[in-house]
């Protein structure tokens, strides 16, 4: 069965989303650099966007009438906007942290530990 001749479904997108998600999570798990963690967050948000767009797309499923239609794209749009805002604030915090602590190592930011 040739994958290139078969049409693409929601599941394919979901799989891509899952991979992106896991990559983002791994990025967050393993990066000590605060900016790396931020990038992981961006990946995770994008994975969610992929899923939302896939759910709302009328090309990817047979029963398109039951899809969430444009809602997916609108939600994804809000996610992008929020991600941009989050990135701005997070970067400001990182800069702040860097200015006071002279490092961007998140492992060092453990002053409030128990």
């Amino acid at each position: 069965m040739n994958p290139f001749t078969e049409p693409i479904g929601v599941t394919h997108y979901l799989c891509v989303g899952a991979v992106l998600m896991v990559c983002g999570m791994l990025c967050m798990f393993t990066k000590r650099n605060a900016l790396g963690v931020l990038m992981g967050i961006e990946l995770v948000l994008n994975a969610a966007n992929v899923n939302l767009v896939a759910f709302g797309s009328s090309w990817l499923r047979a029963d398109a009438a039951r899809s969430i239609a444009l809602d997916g794209q609108l939600l994804a749009m809000f996610v992008i906007v929020l991600a941009a805002a989050e990135a701005a604030v997070a970067l400001a915090i990182v800069l702040c942290y860097y200015n006071t602590q002279a490092t961007v190592d998140v492992d060092k930011a453990s002053k409030l530990k128990g």
């Binding site: 967050m28 798990f29 998140v106 492992d107 930011a109 453990s110 530990k113 128990g114």
Partner: protein, 853 residues
């Protein structure tokens, strides 16, 4: 009620409440009134004088509605009023009429089923007269007190009280307090006189008692004064116990404590009062045992009747015994043959049954009740419940015995001399002791002949014992105190032998001359600084006003006068008593002995009164020092003496040209049917209380009484003159000749000692035993219990420490250690958190998919 009579309760109410207002004002503002509270005296005096004026106004109102008839024309044309309640009816000729009286319920405090506790007034001629007398005498005493008590205006040095360092006690003056007590005293007495039900009587009765306690103990730093106050109070408690018994008997028997009939706004009868129950008009005002007492006495017969009525009732017949109907109705319903009857009963009887269930056994059974009502007259004629009436009467009299210092309870009155002299005058003349006599007179209709006989005997015994003790007393106030006791005995005696008017008449005349005598003695004491007559003598030259007004008092108390023509006030009242006594003797020869004692008492009275006067004012001074310092009292003290002396002379006389006299005024209040020779003794066979009119109408009694009393009194005066005035005979010789009798008398018949050994000492011993038991047994038990408790507590404490505390400490330690360990979980490492978060998400997902299959 006539229009003007409508004002009567208001006038008397004002007269009654004015002293209370004065009391309240002095309590709060007394010390602010002038220097040392001088204004308090004027305020109290003004209040009581206003009361007097109001009382006179009330008397005028009363007399304008009830014109007096001359006492000699009393027989058939007596003035009369119909109902005893609010209604005043025009005169109706009747031999034994209900006296004119007003019964007003001002305010109902509480109502318990049938018992109404209310502020009620019973106003009749006696009330009005008492108001006038009490306020007049009290006014004189108030005026006198403003002079007598002036020492209390500033700091007082009491030589009779030594402080711990041996110096005389110095204390601030208590002028205000004295007058505030006096005002309260007057208020209480007036309230007692005005009271329209026995509950109110009792309340003011006790108020009078507490006032006397406060005033007798006025110099409470003196041990003797505080003991005397305690004695007066405790002895009165003994009497009041009897009174409470009487009150309870009266309440249970009459079902009410009101003296008059209670009516509602429309004038309909709500509840019959004591007087109309015990002397119902239907029975021609004969003494009638009230239904309640008959029922109580016939309780067994009534329950038997109820049981019979119950047993006789046919099954289907309509309601006789509701209880049984209710109990058996279920059976009837199940039994088919009687279902018709049951239905009939249910339809007709059910509502009635519900209503009747609240009532007593008799009321639940109309048929039985009818039978009982039929039998009541028969039971009454058989004497059922009579003893209950006797007990009620005796109980109430018991209270009077305590208050009026009659024979067994007379010991407190002489000791009460510890109070200031004006107080003694007030107690002896107008308020405290008069209360007992007044109450006997007020409740006269409900006393059975047997009770009256007891009253007569007690009075007779009292008058004789007190008179004999007075012979040997040397304290001027004690002589007067025993004289009071003796005269109160006379009054009781008079009331007991049927002389209702005579007893009350003597109460009034005695009030005037005894107040006079006490105030005179106060003047003497004020002048000499001592009570002891053996240190006086010849004082008439120093203080003539006191001496001669006192002589008037002595003559009045002796009953001096020209026999059958004219005399001082005491002449008339004592004459009336003795005439009634003779009448009683004629009717009851078996009890004639007590009459002899009464005559003997008259002689002794004359003897000791003149002994006192002669020792004090005549002869040579026995103590030069005291004599030289003696002086006449100031005008505020002499003025009342003169007023009272005039009253002591004239209070027995009618107002010239009119029928107005004290006697005829009191005659208006004579209780219907009482002492009218109607009542025969039931428990004492043949006892007759003769009609008082007989002794007036029969010249034999009157003449013989007057002549004999005059002779006996003259003999007493002569004897006194022989011993003390013209010292022909030395009293010492007589004293030695009759040594045992003298020691009996000088020791007051050993009454105090007898009480001490019979009552006080056993009580003390009992309490010592109780104390010993307390210490040995109960304390031991209590200590043991305490020790056991302590032991248990220690064990408990150990358990607490070893088990509970340790457990809690362990739990706390463990929690702390756990927290320490748990703290390490919070590493502050964000990536770790994220990993845990993801792992948690996965775990959650697995869990959900596992259970959501």
């Amino acid at each position: 009620m006539a229009d003007s009579l409508r004002w009567l309760p208001l006038l008397l109410e004002l007269a009654w409440l004015l002293p209370l207002g004065s009391f309240v004002l002095i309590v709060f503002f007394g010390p602010l009134m002038g220097k040392g509270g001088r204004g308090a005296g004027w305020l109290a005096t003004a209040a009581i004088m206003c009361s007097f004026v109001l009382s006179i106004a009330a008397a005028t109102v009363w007399l304008s509605e009830h014109p007096l008839v001359h006492s000699s024309a009393r027989d058939g044309s007596e003035h009369d009023c119909g109902a005893s309640a609010d209604e005043h009816c025009p005169a109706v000729a009747h031999k034994r009429a209900v006296p004119a009286a007003i019964f007003v319920e001002r305010y109902v405090l509480a109502q318990f089923d049938q018992l109404r506790l209310s502020v009620a007034y019973w106003i009749d001629a006696l009330t009005v007269a008492m108001f006038c007398m009490v306020t007049l005498v009290a006014s004189c005493i108030h005026v006198y007190s403003t002079g007598y008590m002036h020492e209390e205006l500033h700091e007082v040095t009491d030589q009779q009280v030594r402080t711990a360092d041996g110096t005389a006690l110095r204390r601030p003056g208590r002028y205000c307090r004295f007058f505030q007590y006096l005002s309260l005293f007057c208020f209480s007495m007036l309230g007692l006189v005005l009271a329209g039900n026995l509950a109110m009587v009792f309340a003011f009765w006790e108020l009078v008692g507490i006032c006397s306690y406060l005033l007798i103990g006025f110099y409470f730093e003196r041990r003797s004064a505080s003991l005397a106050a305690n004695k007066a109070f405790i002895v009165n408690r003994v009497g009041d116990f009897g009174m409470l018994v009487g009150l309870m008997a009266a309440w249970s028997g009459f079902g009410t404590l009101a003296l008059g009939d209670t009516t509602d706004a429309q004038g309909r009868l709500v509840q019959r009062g004591i007087f109309s129950q015990v002397r119902p008009a239907e029975a021609d005002y004969r003494l009638t045992v009230p239904d309640g007492m008959v029922r109580m006495a016939a309780a067994e017969e009534i329950s038997a009747m109820v049981a019979n009525a119950h047993a006789r009732r046919p099954a289907g017949e309509q309601g006789q015994f509701v209880e049984q109907h209710k109990a058996t109705v279920d059976q009837w319903q199940s039994a088919e043959q009687q279902s018709a009857a049951a239905a009939r009963w249910q339809s007709s009887e059910q509502p009635k049954a519900a209503a009747a269930q609240r009532w007593s056994v008799e009321r639940r059974q109309p048929a039985a009740e009818a039978q009982v009502a039929d039998r009541l007259p028969w039971w009454r004629s058989q004497g059922y419940g009579y003893w209950l009436l006797v007990i009620a009467g005796l109980g109430l009299f018991c209270g009077c015995v305590g208050k009026s210092a009659q024979f067994p309870l007379m010991v407190w009155l002489p000791d009460a001399m510890e109070g200031p002299t004006p107080v003694s005058a007030l107690i002896h003349a107008a308020t405290m002791v008069a209360a007992g006599v007044y109450l006997v007179a007020r409740l006269y209709p409900m006393f059975a002949p047997e009770v009256l006989l007891v009253i007569a005997c007690i009075g007779c015994l009292t008058l004789f014992i007190a008179a004999t003790i007075a012979i040997t007393a040397t304290d001027i106030k004690r002589v007067l105190a025993y004289s009071t006791v003796s005269q109160l005995g006379y009054m009781m005696f008079a009331l007991g032998v049927g002389g209702w008017l005579a007893g009350l008449f003597h109460l009034f005349t005695h009030a005037f001359f005894k107040a006079l005598l006490f105030l005179c003695s106060g003047s003497v004491i004020h002048a000499c600084g001592t009570n002891d007559m053996t240190q006086m003598g010849g004082l008439r030259r120093k203080m003539p006003w006191t001496a001669y007004t006192m002589l008037v008092g002595c003559l009045a108390i002796c009953g001096a006068g020209v026999p059958l023509v004219v005399g001082l006030s005491g002449y008339y009242s004592k004459d009336a008593i003795l005439a009634q006594a003779l009448s009683f003797r004629a009717a009851n020869p078996a009890w004639g002995g007590i009459v002899v004692v009464a005559f003997l008492g008259a002689g002794i009275t004359a003897f000791y009164m003149f002994r006192m006067w002669l020792m004090t004012f005549a002869g040579q001074p026995r103590d030069k020092h005291i004599y030289q310092h003696a002086h006449e009292s100031p005008l505020v003290m002499v003025g009342p003496l003169v007023v009272l002396a005039i009253l002591a002379v004239v209070s027995g006389w009618p107002v010239p040209g009119t029928a107005l006299s004290l006697e005829s005024l009191l005659e208006q209040a004579r209780p219907a049917g009482a002492a009218a020779g109607l009542d025969q003794g039931v428990l004492v066979a043949g006892l007759v209380i003769p009609d008082e009119h007989l002794s007036h109408e029969n010249p034999v009694f009157h003449t013989s009484a007057a002549l004999t009393a005059f002779a006996v009194s003259l003999l007493g005066v002569l004897l006194a003159a022989v011993f003390y005035g013209l010292p022909w005979l030395d009293p010492q010789v007589i004293r030695r000749a009759f040594a045992p009798i003298y020691s009996l008398l000088v020791n007051k018949w050993w009454l105090d000692e007898i009480y001490h050994y019979m009552l006080v000492a056993p009580t003390l011993r009992l309490s010592q035993l109780a104390a010993w038991l307390d210490r040995r047994a109960i304390d031991w038990l209590a200590d043991g219990l305490a020790r056991a408790t302590a032991l248990v507590a220690q064990l408990d404490d150990r358990f607490d420490r070893l088990v509970v505390d340790r457990a809690i400490d362990h739990a706390a330690d463990w929690t702390y250690a756990f927290g320490l360990r748990l703290r390490r979980v919070q590493t502050g490492n964000i990536r770790q958190y994220l990993m845990v978060l993801a792992a948690g998400t996965v775990a959650l997902f697995l869990l959900v998919s596992w259970f959501w299959r």
